[in-house]
Structures are given as structure tokens and as C-alpha cells.
């Protein structure tokens, strides 16, 4: 069975320094009509799990009803959250614990000052408060840290923190590049990325909790493991667009459309998934051609950076183009 990552809303109740400005001005929520289609057609299409993202998914005005409908239809669910609303919604999670597979809390620093500098004053305590609610109510949770120049030195502390908090694990992921973020000095160079990845792989060997890295880390093979490309995971944005990748959803108002495969207002989930499978085939064929032509650069071994270029998700003025370690390779990405 597969899972569907559903962007319940592109709105958020925080204003994080490593997010992009459009998110902060966002106004959209997933409609009931789209949810109906997912629930009616998902299981027939081999989907049994819905993973809610955003924005902050728990601020969807009908979050309570959505959870009830999802569970009533027999799907399991999980969500990624900043934790702010967990003290409010935990009774809903307790009531549906049979279907609830856990929350992933975004914690971008092992230290309060580091996290709060990125996500706003008081936000660290909100995450740990959410963790305490989960522990007391016996609800599963894990932690996710986006690696930036500010928190790169706290990776081992983060693993220790996850263990001491009773987290089910900790996952690290690289920051998605955009011009907004470059101006804030948060990005790691390619060398820094590889260095922190090496530290994480070392920690994984000895940590008492599961330690993982989200896809996007350096991969020797051009054909890295990524759930959508393995057809294990599909992504739906709040407008009902099935997309190849959830990263930078809505960035530049989704201007390129290069990874949009269809909208569930206009087609069935089965039709959209068939387009998804075909698109993955084209993607892989394009990549094989690129490798065969000897055009696969160092930058391209970071899968998300390859896809950001391939999908034209950031403009030609992307900081990737001026990055000191990628200036030779980032400007000639294929257009779709």
C-alpha cells in the first residue's frame, strides 16, 4: 500500500526564518470536495495512509472533522506540525489512536535560543509542551530538524534530546533552496552538507533512537531512494493538485507547474496517479539520458537540488546559481 501526503492548508501560525514569504501570506485550505474524492477513491488506488502537512495542518478550520472522516473511512493518518495546537487537539488524537500513527514535530535546534531564532520566541517550548502531552497520553511522536547554518553544530545534541524526550526518532533534512533563504544566510554549502551528513551517519550507528535523513542527502548513485519515485508516496497540495514532490509547494505560486500532474477537481485520483506513474517514468528516462551524456554534476548528486532544477521550482536567479560550490553547474538545468 502507498501513502498520500496531503497539504491540508498552506497557511501557518508561525513565521519561520527559513520558510518563504508566500507561505506567510497564504490563505488556502484543502476543500471538503477534494477530501471526499481522496477518501472515496484512495483505497481502491492502493492508498491506506494519509500524512497531513502544510503550512500547519492542524490549523485547517475543519481539522477535527477531517480526522473523524479519515478514520471513519478506515485510513490511518499522521501529521507534521510545529506542535502549537497539540495541547488543544490531543483528545481528538487519543480518541482516534487506533488510526493515528504519530506526529512529527519540527524542532530546528536542540537549544531553545537556536530554535526560537528560526521559528519565533516561545516556539521551542511549544514543541516540548506538545512532546509532553504525547508522552503523558501515550501518543507517538518523532522530531524533524531542518539543517541550517545556525543549527548545524547541534546535530549530536539533537539526537540526545530526542532520546531523552522519548521521541520515536529524529530525522534531519536539508533546507530547500530559494532566493528568500539565501538572503538570510541559512544555507549550507555543498561541502558543509556532506560534512553534516557524515556526522549524522556516524551518530546513527550509536544512537539509542532511530536517526534518519530525509531524501536530499548526497547520493553516489544518480538513482537515489525517494518515496515518490519508488511510487510509495504521492503528494497532493491544498488546491487539489497531485504533484511529483511536496517540496517548495506553492513557491512562486506554483508558477512552473512542472511537477503538477493533475487536479482532483477535474479528474479521478486513479487518473491522476496514472499520470504520476508516467511522469516518474519520464523523469527517470530524462535522468538516464543526462547521466549518459555526462551531464550529471556534483550538485546533481544532492537529489532535491537536482529536482529543484529539473522542475524549475526556483527562478534562474536562484542562489544555487551563485553558490560558490555550484556556480559551474546550476545555471543550465533542463526545462520541463
Amino acid at each position: 500500500m502507498s501513502r498520500l501526503v496531503v497539504e491540508l492548508t498552506n497557511r501557518c501560525n508561525l513565521r519561520c526564518g527559513h520558510c518563504y514569504d508566500e507561505r506567510h501570506a497564504a490563505t488556502g485550505d484543502l476543500s471538503s470536495e477534494i477530501l471526499d474524492r481522496i477518501l472515496a477513491e484512495g483505497q481502491v488506488c492502493g492508498i491506506d495512509h494519509l500524512s497531513f502537512t502544510g503550512g500547519e495542518p492542524t490549523i485547517h478550520p475543519e481539522f477535527d472533522g477531517i480526522v473523524r472522516r479519515v478514520c471513519g473511512a478506515g485510513y490511518t493518518f499522521s501529521f507534521v506540525s510545529n506542535g502549537v495546537r497539540v495541547p488543544k487537539i490531543h483528545p481528538l488524537l487519543v480518541e482516534h489512536r487506533r488510526w493515528f500513527q504519530g506526529a512529527t514535530f519540527s524542532l530546528d535546534g536542540a537549544r531553545e535560543a537556536t530554535h526560537d531564532a528560526l521559528r519565533g520566541p516561545g516556539s521551542y517550548r511549544q514543541v516540548l509542551r506538545a512532546a509532553s502531552v504525547c508522552v503523558v497520553k501515550n501518543l507517538s511522536f518523532t522530531l524533524n530538524m531542518v539543517l541550517t547554518a545556525r543549527n548545524r553544530g547541534e546535530v549530536s545534541e539533537m539526537v540526545e534530546l530526542a532520546a531523552r524526550l522519548g521521541s520515536g526518532g529524529v530525522r534531519f533534512g536539508h533546507l530547500m533552496p530559494s532566493p528568500d533563504i539565501a538572503s538570510r544566510g541559512l544555507e549550507l554549502s555543498l561541502d558543509e552538507r556532506r560534512s553534516v551528513e557524515a556526522e549524522i551517519w556516524r551518530l546513527r550507528e550509536s544512537a539509542s533512537v532511530p536517526v534518519a535523513m530525509a531524501p536530499g542527502y548526497f547520493s553516489e548513485s544518480p538513482f537515489f531512494p525517494c518515496a515518490p519515485l519508488e511510487l510509495e508516496e504521492f503528494n497532493l497540495d491544498y488546491r487539489g493538485n497531485l504533484t511529483l514532490c511536496c517540496h517548495l509547494s506553492g513557491y512562486r505560486r506554483g508558477a512552473t507547474g512542472a511537477d503538477v500532474l493533475g487536479n482532483l477537481r477535474r479528474m479521478s485520483l486513479a487518473q491522476a496517479l496514472e499520470r504520476f506513474r508516467q511522469r516518474v517514468g519520464v523523469y527517470l528516462a530524462d535522468k538516464r539520458d543526462r547521466v549518459a551524456r555526462g551531464e550529471f554534476s556534483e550538485l546533481d548528486h544532492f537529489p532535491c537540488l537536482y529536482c529543484v532544477k529539473y522542475m524549475d521550482k526556483v527562478s534562474r536567479l536562484s542562489p544555487l546559481a551563485s553558490h560558490p560550490r555550484s556556480s559551474a553547474t546550476a545555471t543550465g538545468g533542463p526545462s520541463c
Binding site: E112, R129, S132, V133, V136, L165
Partner: protein, 92 residues
């Protein structure tokens, strides 16, 4: 020995969350120690948050629960003593 005329304060590194069913979750951010307080404990915690003396908190319990003064006093002292040992609260 803890006495009822004492005031104690909540450690600044403790976050607490009322869970709506009478229970309160506590987490000490430095030691990463969790506590769960039941209805009575949560009421004692409520008094501590408002700066009441232990005697005042005991009287609060006696006014809200069917409990004699001796047992209320003991409940307050025992819990606060435990919270002091765990550095969840600190003597003022």
C-alpha cells in the same frame, strides 16, 4: 522539613499543560523529566502557579474536595516535596 507556611515557585525551565480532563503534564526542560499530575495534583499545581502558600493550597483542596484538613495538608506537602526534589519547583 517542608512546612505549610512555605511558598515555593515554579522552576522557570518547567512547562506545564492542562490536558482538560483534570490531568496536567509537566516537563522540565533541563532534566527532560516528565510528570503527570492527576486531578488533585493539578489543583495543587494551579495554586503553585498563582503563588499561594502551601497552607492556602490545602484550604483550597478542602473547599473543593471531600477531604479532611490532615489529609489535604499531607497531600500538598508530599507532592510539593516530591516536586522540590525533582527541581520542578524551588523554595522562595
Amino acid at each position: 522539613m517542608l512546612t505549610l507556611d512555605r511558598h515555593v515557585g515554579i522552576h522557570p525551565e518547567v512547562v506545564s499543560t492542562e490536558l482538560g480532563d483534570g490531568e496536567t503534564a509537566l516537563l522540565h526542560l533541563k532534566t527532560k523529566t516528565y510528570f503527570s499530575l492527576n486531578g488533585t495534583g493539578a489543583r495543587i499545581w494551579w495554586g503553585l502557579q498563582r503563588g499561594l502558600s502551601l497552607k492556602e493550597i490545602s484550604q483550597l483542596l478542602q473547599s473543593e474536595f471531600v477531604v479532611d484538613s490532615e489529609r489535604a495538608d499531607r497531600s500538598v506537602v508530599e507532592l510539593v516535596d516530591d516536586l522540590l526534589r525533582q527541581q520542578i519547583v524551588q523554595a522562595l
